[in-house]
């Protein structure tokens, strides 16, 4: 296993390290997915989806801000870390693609996030209060993704074909979600089983085929959590961070 790059300067040390690691992992997931959804603004297929996608993005951004603030200064962490220091899953950084691609990414992630936050909320760890609030938002996100998976899968031949392509293409990024994160007290194998059951049920109802291939490759297992990202992520960060970096020390 490669050594993770050093944590940000303001991250706490000692006993708090595990908590910081977990806050960055969950916070980066929410931050990066929120950003990707922001790229849809003005481009959605119907106005109702402009509202829905922005709504989901805003929820995720809210979660990211709370989590990153736990680990340090939210803006320094979002705008001044480089690619290798981001701890998000590779799944959430995947480009939007077409609407089916975005919806399947949402389906995979929101199902995971819902199970994860439900378990965190039920525990007494440091993330329980946040998870308690997030789980309400995420259940809406999951419902939105499931409804659209059904519409697109069980819609026209063209929409089914596109959705199946997205289901297959994103499948190999889903295994990474169940790599244990330091600082989170979670029964990961049980979470994975529950995720697979739910996803299988939704895909079948949507008349789609559950992919048979592996859910991780040798190159993707746990990579995002270690700061190893796919190529489009650097460009995403360049856009996100450009203005902040151009005015060092400015407040906005």
């Amino acid at each position: 296993m490669t050594t993770p790059p050093s944590a940000p300067a303001q991250a706490a040390s000692g006993d708090d390290t595990a908590r910081t690691t977990a806050a960055l992992a969950l916070g980066d997931d929410a931050l990066v997915l929120s950003h990707r959804l922001g790229e849809w603004a003005g481009n959605a297929p119907v106005l109702e989806e402009e509202v829905a996608l922005a709504n989901i993005a805003l929820d995720l951004l809210g979660q990211a801000r709370v989590l990153l603030s736990t680990a340090g200064d939210e803006d320094e962490l979002a705008f001044l870390r480089e690619e290798r220091a981001f701890r998000n899953l590779q799944l959430v950084e995947q480009p939007n693609g077409d609407f089916a691609h975005t919806i399947v990414r949402q389906l995979y992630f929101s199902t995971y996030q819902h199970l994860l936050h439900t378990e965190l909320a039920a525990g007494d760890g440091p993330f329980a209060p946040l998870a308690g609030k997030a789980v309400k938002e995420v259940s809406y996100h999951r419902d939105h993704a499931e409804q659209w998976t059904l519409r697109l899968g069980d819609g026209t031949d063209a929409s089914r074909a596109r959705t199946q392509r997205a289901v297959d293409a994103l499948w190999r990024y889903t295994g990474e979600m169940f790599q244990p994160v330091e600082g989170l007290d979670i029964d990961w194998p049980a979470l994975e089983t529950a995720w697979l059951e739910r996803i299988t049920q939704v895909l079948r109802r949507a008349t789609l085929t559950v992919p048979g291939g592996p859910r991780t490759g040798a190159w993707t297992a746990g990579a995002g959590r270690q700061g190893l990202h796919t190529e489009s992520f650097g460009r995403m960060l360049a856009e996100m961070q450009h203005l902040h970096r151009s005015h060092p020390g400015a407040t906005w």
């Binding site: 297929p45 119907v46 106005l47 922005a54 951004l61 819609g155 856009e239 203005l243």
Partner: protein, 328 residues
């Protein structure tokens, strides 16, 4: 109490009683509702105005949406997301209001994309810096508020009610825009310059948002007689200038008009003349961003066609399954 002839177009020979009833409703400052009889011209004028208002909300998502992915702090990013989301919501209310007049949202969208219906001239100007986001909040939402607050008393009920909701949200956005500029003006020299530059670029286009001067605004008199509009373009423009000048002073920026000064006698600010030729060029499609805005709206619509078709096909399958279930 009302004659119910929804969607009637045979108004050339409208029975005098209907016309009288309509005129009396307007005269008493009461609301016209979707099922009431109304003159054809009134219906058409409203459809045009409400649809163009809806289109403006939708096209208006673009210049600010540009900055969602580049907002320099997470707080500003959240504010922008919320604002752009509100604009989509406003578009939805307004299309619904237009549909109560017998218009069809899909048809109105086509008209926008084909350039047969307009949207506010202001959204044809580009947003090259982040300060533009704040100035749009301050000027453009400020101008929209001047225009829209009186529309909360517009004679057509569904439009007036949509405006009540919209105005509440717009004034919130205006304050947030102004607060961004305040923060930037207290910041670095580069930030202050960015604000002044944005103010210089947006001032005149914002004054043009109120439309041509009163002596060259052919539809205004009728719209005011019908109480669709409550004030003339020039009155609203003056109100906007009077409201904005003290805000500019407080912000410590200058407005790019050498003729701008307080007129004690009038109790208003005098100001220079906007470049009306520029307004006409922008309205006719020849502004800096007209082609891009429509192209992008058209592309989103076209690329989304398969999604809308899938939703329709799925709904039909569901309905068929339910029918089969009920029959069994």
């Amino acid at each position: 109490m009302t004659a119910q002839q929804a969607g009637s177009s045979a108004t050339l020979d409208a029975p005098p009683a209907l016309q009288e009833h309509f005129d009396a409703t307007i005269a008493r400052d009461q609301r016209v509702e979707p099922r009431d009889w109304m003159p054809d011209g009134y219906r058409k004028t409203l459809i045009r105005q409400v649809a163009q208002h809806a289109h403006s909300e939708i096209i208006g998502m673009q210049p600010e949406g540009e900055w969602i992915t580049r907002a320099p702090s997470l707080r500003r990013k959240a504010i922008l997301f919320a604002k752009v989301q509100d604009e989509a919501g406003h578009g939805l209310y307004l299309y619904s209001a237009a549909e109560t007049l017998g218009a069809d949202r899909a048809d109105l969208t086509e008209r926008l994309i084909e350039g047969r219906q307009k949207y506010s001239s202001i959204f044809n100007y580009p947003t090259p810096t982040f300060a533009d986001v704040g100035v749009i909040g301050w000027f453009v939402d400020g101008a929209a508020i001047c225009n829209q607050v009186p529309l909360c008393r517009s004679s057509y009920g569904p439009y007036a009610r949509a405006m009540v909701r919209i105005c509440k949200e717009e004034s919130f956005h205006q304050r947030q825009g102004y607060e961004l500029l305040m923060t930037m003006m207290r910041g670095t020299e580069a930030q202050r310059e960015m604000v002044q530059d944005a103010v210089n670029r947006w001032w005149w286009p914002s004054l043009m948002m109120f439309g041509p001067p009163d002596d060259n605004s052919p539809n205004s008199a009728q719209s005011m007689a019908w109480k669709i509009k409550r004030h003339s373009n020039d009155e609203l423009r003056q109100r906007f200038v009077d409201m904005t000048v003290p805000q500019a002073k407080k912000l410590d920026v200058t407005l790019p008009d050498p003729e701008l000064r307080w007129n004690e006698e009038r109790g208003h600010h005098d100001f220079g003349t906007p470049d009306w030729d520029e307004l006409m060029r922008v309205i006719k499609g020849d502004g800096p961003c007209n082609a891009d805005r429509i192209e992008r709206r058209g592309a989103a619509h076209e690329e989304g066609a398969w999604v809308r078709e899938a939703a329709v096909a799925h709904a039909a399958k569901q309905a068929a399954r339910e029918e089969k279930g009920a029959a069994a």
